[in-house]
Amino acid sequence: MDLLLAAPALPLDEAGKYVAGAYVVFVVLLVVYVAIMAAKVQRIERELSDVAAIAEEKKEAQAAPGRGSEAPFASRGSGGGGTDV
């Protein structure tokens, strides 16, 4: 313990590596987190475009009465929205 207390300050050229290392670790963690979030946002965007396509398909099926019963989702109920919270 006394040895640890007596440890002298490192010279600037050596200390710089450690300081840079600590700050780089922080930046890397931040970048990794942002990259993961970017992937999540991309997935949400993809899902949203899928849902938009389904909604348009449903609208087209409703607009064409003859094809109404053949539409993939027209014969089913609306589902009610759900409560996630």
């Binding site: 313990m1 440890a7 300050a9 050596e14 300081v19 987190y33």
Partner: protein, 240 residues
Amino acid sequence: MYGKGLKPLSIATVAMLALSLSLVFFYAPLDGDQGFIQKIFYLHVPLAIVSLVGFVVGGVFAVLHLRTDNRKWDAYSYVSIHISVIFGVAVLITGAIWAKASWGHWWVWDEPTLVSFLIVFLLYATYYPFRYAIEDRDRQARYASVFAVTAGAFVPLNFMAVRMAQSLVHPRTFATAEGGMPGEMMLTFLCSLAAMALLWTTLVKFELTAKSASGQVKRLRRALDAPPGGASSRIAPEVS
């Protein structure tokens, strides 16, 4: 809803981070004892404080969830703990780097501050498998809230226990017998602390916004009677 104010908050966070980094490297004086190595202090300590406070905040949200049974608070609690765990990883790594540079060892097992933080971190690391182990979402949210409250209460108790312990190695930042930090260092430290607190808040808001968007897409799918898309997480709570 969750995304409201995210842009100004992000700008404020970036500005504050830039200011604090400028102060750290161009304004704060070199420490007489540790020299340049002490610059890690302005990163490591604010990260640790914000991480620990984040765990307590997660516990407060969990109390709100248990009192109101509103799933929104469970999501807040989950996200607070999630971001605090990420901060905790940064604390452990930057702390190890500082320890190596300052003491010559990556880790010192007889130092109460280090070990107690590791215990808190490992405690919260069990939050995910604990949550994941419960299938039913209501039970999952309730049990996770109980965990968050218990662990959140443990954090300040742990902190006080460590403060009472007589440590010879880990430096005390405030209220030392020698009078604490000089003004320039204190200002730099407070700016760094504010920057980390802003970063934590921004990331929590960002995560909640993404979860909210994902939850609303799922609601849309259900409203359209469309099959569920993509792999949905069983562990993370949904918000709308």
